[in-house]
């Protein structure tokens, strides 16, 4: 009884919904602020993303006449749930995640690609040109970035000899030097995540100047707020995943740190987690500043020619490394 109550509290408060909400909005602020500062602008105040969310929640919620009402209304919730779930597999305050499973890396990758499919469904059910085009583009892009992303993440799994994120983190902590081996994979995963999050230079499905609001053109009010929040949480969960898989070494689990008689290991680890995620958000914002949006065909070219090839290269390095180590 107590266990399940605790589990519910974990899921709702920390590291579940409430934490993701707050951290997601904070990351959005960091992203927007960095983006603005790099562009010679002042940028939004700290509470701006929160204010935007509240305001959107209070706005009129319109369901256009011809849409497929059920798909239109409930797909955002499915996408929202899907992006939040991986957090229970990702180590946050210690080397072990909340509910680690064997093979949870695969589950996390799978759950993180649900939003792209949801966007396609939304585009389809909106019965409107711009969402339709946006949905097609979102689905087409999926074929570009998904393979490199998975290849890069799996290389870490191969090095650690486990497809459990917690094990990868533990392994990287034990052998921090192996983080050097996955640097190419880190770069690939970062670029693929940028594409996954549909941000410049890969913001093709929501290119404002081409297809207006993209997939979300017909959305308003609460549903739009949910989708925007989904984007933020996707960013947080995606960066946490990369942080755990590629930067797992920066964690303290062997031995403990205490100060004035209090055990601070978990606090330190949590702060390290925040720092790692924010660093990745920062890098994502820098990428967003530096490049112009490329076309969908160029994006597919780029991901297959360079990212996927790089992913295979990374996989090769990982296998070689294992072979030399254990061979």
């Amino acid at each position: 009884m107590m266990d399940s109550l605790a589990a519910v509290l974990y899921l709702i408060l920390f590291p579940g919904f409430v934490f993701l909400l707050v951290f997601g909005l904070f990351c959005e602020w960091v992203d927007r602020k960095v983006y603005a500062r790099l562009q010679n602008r002042v940028g939004p105040p700290l509470f701006q993303p929160f204010a935007d969310l509240i305001k959107l929640l209070g706005k009129e919620d319109i369901i256009p006449k011809n849409v497929d009402s059920i798909l239109f209304q409930y797909t955002p919730l499915i996408a929202f749930a899907a992006v939040m779930t991986p957090i229970i597999f990702i180590p946050i305050w210690s080397a072990t995640a909340l509910f680690p499973l064997q093979g949870d890396l695969i589950i996390a990758l799978y759950l993180l690609s649900i939003p792209a499919l949801a966007l396609f469904v939304i585009g389809w059910s909106s019965v409107s040109l711009y969402p339709l085009l946006g949905g097609f583009r979102a689905a087409t892009m999926l074929f570009g970035y998904e393979v490199p992303f998975i290849l890069a993440c799996l290389s870490c799994g191969i090095i650690a000899g486990s497809w459990r994120i917690s094990d990868i983190t533990a392994y990287l902590e034990m052998y921090p030097a192996s983080m050097l081996i996955v640097i190419p994979g880190f770069v690939i995963a970062l670029l693929a995540l940028e594409a996954k999050l549909e941000r410049t230079p890969f913001d093709i499905p929501q290119a404002e100047t081409e297809i207006v609001g993209g997939v979300l053109t017909e959305y308003s009010g609460k549903k739009l707020a949910v989708m925007r929040l989904m984007d933020d949480i996707r960013m947080v969960v995606g960066s946490s995943l990369i942080a755990a898989v590629f930067l797992g070494g920066f964690i303290v689990s062997y031995g403990s740190i205490s100060w004035a008689g209090t055990d601070l290991t978990n606090v330190i680890n949590f702060l390290l987690y925040i720092a790692k995620s924010l660093m990745i958000v920062f890098l994502l914002a820098v990428i967003r500043t530096l490049f112009a949006r490329i076309r969908i065909d160029q994006m597919l070219d780029f991901s297959w020619k360079y990212l996927a090839m790089g992913g295979i290269f990374q996989l090769f390095i990982a296998v070689m490394y294992i072979g030399i180590l254990h061979g």
Binding site: Q39, I204, E208, T209, E210, I294, Q298
Partner: protein, 391 residues
């Protein structure tokens, strides 16, 4: 046969800064055909000029366009001065040139920013528009205004450039030159910018000549026309500058031409500040203009601007006809759009730097039927009535 999807872009669309509609037929992600529908904001300025005196018209004509307001008034003044046979003082000629070049700088910087925005690169927009503020500040220093400078009057200019302002202006030009050089570096080196602009919206030299394109659009297709050099006016004959052309004929070429012109404009401005002759800034013009007519050509930032003024001896013109540069570029735009990706439509449209408020009295072109219809004002009204109610 597969039916092409028709996508209406506009009249209200984030890709366009002013109302215009573009019906594009697409096959997959490629544009097969484009139909341009214009005149959503006809304002009747040409007609309105006939009910105002020559001096009042200056302020009306300045408001034809917010970006090249000086181009319009200068061109108008040249036409009226020609009918009057007025000799404009040297100082006024130089000041007109100076303001005109500053205006070109701010217009091209504005274009570069919008081009960046169209291809999703807002960083370029933020940087160029920050520097555009500097030009606006310089214009404010001279004229007191940032958009409609109200510098021209018939027979000269209304304000002199003060001696104590010259050092500030030179400083501003130095800063601008630095950032313009940086932009040239950026647009020639940055890979994603090249990916989005190279080979996009191609216009051959032949087509550019045949369809009578004007301004940077033509020069990017390697046609060397520039009214400043070909039919010199104001002080351009005394100044040293070169006409920038590019050979690629695509959007990238147009950006190269425009940034190259920024360098030339800064060069012209420096020369003007060095050789300002001083003295009178205006010749007094009589309120009534004798019967006659004149055409004046002016190289506005977007291309050749033509004013035709006909007078009837009273203090109001009988007819003022404006041929704005954007009007000359619609045809080539439709040409450039064929075969590009949907994703490239905004940047191709923007590459001609369309200024709709200048050109909302229009030759309409029906590409689906392959015929051109020159619309009169009356027909335009009927046409609008007929279209009403159609989504």
């Amino acid at each position: 046969m597969e039916k092409n999807i028709l996508i209406p872009i506009g009249p209200q669309h984030p890709g366009f800064k002013e109302p215009m509609r573009l019906d594009i037929s697409i096959d997959g992600e490629k544009v097969v055909d484009a139909d341009i529908i214009l005149s959503f904001n006809h304002r009747g300025i040409e007609k309105a000029t006939e009910a105002r005196s020559y001096i009042q018209n200056l302020y009306l004509i300045e408001r034809v366009c917010g970006i090249c307001s000086h181009a319009h008034t200068t061109s108008y003044c040249h036409a009226v001065e020609e009918i009057l046979g007025l000799q404009v003082p040297d100082q006024a000629r130089y000041i007109r040139t100076f303001i005109g070049e500053l205006e070109r700088i701010q217009s091209h910087l504005l274009w570069l920013g919008i081009a960046g925005h169209e291809i999703g690169w807002d960083t370029l927009l933020m940087y160029t528009w920050r520097d555009r503020e500097r030009v606006n500040d310089m214009l404010e220093l001279i004229s007191g205004n940032r958009v409609h400078y109200a510098m021209n009057t018939i027979g000269g200019v209304r304000r002199d450039i003060a001696q104590e302002d010259i050092s500030g202006l030179k400083e501003g030009l130095d800063l601008l030159e630095k950032s313009v050089k940086y932009y040239i570096h950026v647009i020639t080196e940055e890979e994603t910018f090249l990916m989005r602009t190279r080979g996009v919206g191609y216009l051959s030299t032949d087509k550019a000549r045949k369809l009578c394109a004007v301004g940077p659009t033509t020069r990017a297709s390697n046609v060397k026309i520039d009214v400043r050099a070909d039919d010199s006016y104001a002080a351009y004959l005394d100044l040293d500058f070169s006409v920038v052309t590019a050979e690629s004929g695509d959007v990238w070429g147009r950006s190269i031409v425009k940034t190259g012109e920024l360098v030339q404009s800064i060069r012209i401005c420096r020369q003007v500040l060095d050789v300002l002759p001083g003295g009178e800034i205006r010749t007094k013009a009589p309120p009534k203009v004798p019967t006659g007519e004149a055409v004046s050509r002016y190289e506005a930032p977007r291309g050749e601007l033509i004013y035709y003024v006909k007078s009837n001896g009273s203090n109001m013109p009988e007819r003022v006809k404006i041929r704005s540069p954007t009007l000359g570029n619609w045809l080539v735009m439709a040409e450039m759009l064929k075969g590009v990706y949907i994703a490239d439509v905004p940047i191709v449209v923007d590459a001609i730097d369309p200024c709709l408020s200048c050109s909302a009295r229009v030759t309409m072109t029906d590409y689906s039927k392959g015929k051109k219809v020159v619309t009169t004002l009356g027909a335009l009204g009927k046409w609008k009535k007929g279209r009403r109610g159609i989504a």
